[in-house]
């Protein structure tokens, strides 16, 4: 965890980062007056490195490095409690979401396992058109070197016939993988806004 050094604040302030977050999330970060309602509502503060109100303040102060390397942004479950209760009507969950994809872009993802799970999930969608749960869990456990995660549940789930052994491939899977391709083109600025 990077330590906050208040003396270095002005020097480290990255104003373009503030604008980037505001543009991408379509939220006005400067409206936050630190009432703390978001953190009071957040069920995940106990696993965060910075409570969500501090994340908001760090954005206001342009602390790009600290924010994009924080664990908090990847442990946010997008439960919408903060957004629902913000007296300034800031869609905070959307700000957190924006920070997640900015951290992917910057290569500063703090919790690699979560990113790995998301990657494998999307690979499954790209290949089959739908998520193949059995394959996803097997590949994730293998790659994350967590071979015994949920091993206790596997027999129960199989007994209920809830995990198919063979993936369902949709007919339009090429169309789905084309969406991924065009999205990449968009990201690489080949398709404009």
């Amino acid at each position: 965890m990077a330590l906050l050094n208040s003396l270095r604040m002005p020097r480290d302030c990255d104003e373009s980062f503030i604008r980037q977050v505001e543009t991408k999330s379509r939220q006005q970060i400067s409206k936050c007056y630190q009432c703390g309602n978001c953190s009071a509502s957040c069920a995940y503060t106990y696993v965060y490195d910075y409570p969500v109100n501090q994340i908001m303040r760090l954005i206001q102060l342009g602390q790009k490095e600290v924010v994009l390397r924080s664990r908090s942004i990847w442990l946010c479950a997008d439960c919408q409690a903060c957004t629902t209760r913000c007296p300034c009507n800031i869609d905070i969950a959307r700000v957190m979401e924006t920070l997640r994809f900015l951290s992917v872009e910057e290569g500063t993802v703090s919790i690699k396992d979560i990113q790995l799970f998301y990657d494998e999930f999307l690979n499954s969608v790209k290949t089959f058109g739908r998520v193949f749960e059995t394959g996803l869990l097997a590949t994730y456990n293998l790659k994350a070197k967590k071979l015994f995660t949920d091993i206790d549940l596997a027999p129960k789930v199989l007994k209920k016939g809830k995990l198919p052994i063979i993936p369902h491939r949709i007919r339009g899977r090429k169309k789905v993988s084309d969406i991924f391709k065009r999205f990449e083109d968009y990201r690489n600025k080949k398709i404009l806004d």
């Binding site: 997008d78 629902t84 994809f101 396992d113 799970f117 499954s124 198919p164 999205f183 968009y186």
Partner: protein
């Protein structure tokens, strides 16, 4: 939905084809019994869920958008999904269409008007069928059964996005359960998060959060927890054994979909509702209350 629209598009979502198959079974059986024809969107694809919009909402929007475009092509104005996470993705597609139309359509490459509405199965049951109709049609009553409604995060939040029920104190499931004759206490953890998708990556989080919800249900004397989300159900039911290990508890709490409870109350065969697919058995709940309403009324009047 107005009375004429008894035929709507149905987006099942990936989880109800696998670990939440009973939600799909009970949703279909219940809608048939209520005279609503569900037309499954042909060749639907995954909405992208949390992984897609964590990368970029536009990717999630385009993936979910393909399904909306297919439904529009078939002339539908409403698409219903049992999964709140899919619902969020479908609504996210409509939002990106509003905000970034050009990029959205360029990535989607399908005709799209954005005129379609996305709703949850709970919304359909509460707003379009309603507790009164349920009360009139039930054949089995859940009398003397304490059932706590657990809504989770997304069904009514955030308010501008969900446009359904109350974000802090939703009551739609409460009222549907009451219409079935169940005893519904005030459940303070109605919208507390269950730990969401962290069952796989950060298992201890689900252990902690889901444990609290089950504990509160037990304290209120619940015979079952009613849910309307495949992920909440999975955390509370499938992972209940992991919760018990985390907290050193011995919960044996049935966690049942609202569609299963309603289907049962309307007299649908429990087998068609996938009761046998639940991990913590709910057989007692359905067995003990399996007395037809006519008999119950006779015995009380005698």
């Amino acid at each position: 939905m107005n009375q004429t629209e008894k035929r709507i598009a149905y987006y099942p979502g990936c989880s109800v084809t696998g670990t939440a198959v009973e939600f799909d079974q009970s949703t279909r059986a219940l809608c048939t019994a209520l005279g609503i024809e569900l037309v499954e969107i042909p060749d639907w694809n995954c909405c992208g869920s949390t992984p897609a919009h964590s990368y970029d909402p536009l990717l999630g929007a385009a993936l979910a958008g393909r399904n909306l475009a297919l439904a529009e092509e078939m002339g539908f104005h409403v698409v219903m999904t049992p999964c709140p996470s899919c619902l969020k993705a479908l609504k996210g597609a409509l939002r990106e269409y509003e905000e970034k139309q050009h990029a959205f359509l360029n990535i989607l490459q399908m005709p799209f008007s954005g005129q379609i509405r996305a709703i949850s199965v709970l919304q359909l049951l509460y707003e379009d069928i309603g507790p009164e109709t349920i009360r009139e049609q039930i054949r089995y009553r859940l009398t003397n059964k304490v059932v706590v409604p657990y809504y989770g995060c997304l069904l009514s939040r955030p308010p501008e996005f969900a446009r359904f029920d109350d974000p802090e104190n939703p009551i739609s499931m409460d009222e549907l359960l009451q219409a079935m004759g169940a005893s519904v206490p005030e459940f303070p953890y109605k919208t507390e998060c269950c730990g969401a998708a962290y069952g796989v990556t950060q298992n201890h989080i689900v252990g902690k959060m889901t444990g609290r919800i089950l504990d509160m249900a037990r304290r209120l004397g619940a015979a079952a927890v009613a849910v309307a989300c495949p992920l909440c159900q999975q955390n509370l039911d499938l992972r209940q054994s992991q919760v018990n290990r985390y907290w050193h508890t011995t919960f044996q709490m049935p966690v049942v979909y609202i569609t299963q409870l309603l289907g049962f109350a309307l007299g649908i065969d429990p087998k068609k509702l996938g009761i046998d697919k639940l991990f913590v058995s709910a057989d007692d709940l359905f067995k003990e209350t399996s007395e037809p309403l006519e008999n119950q009324t006779e015995s009380t009047s005698a």
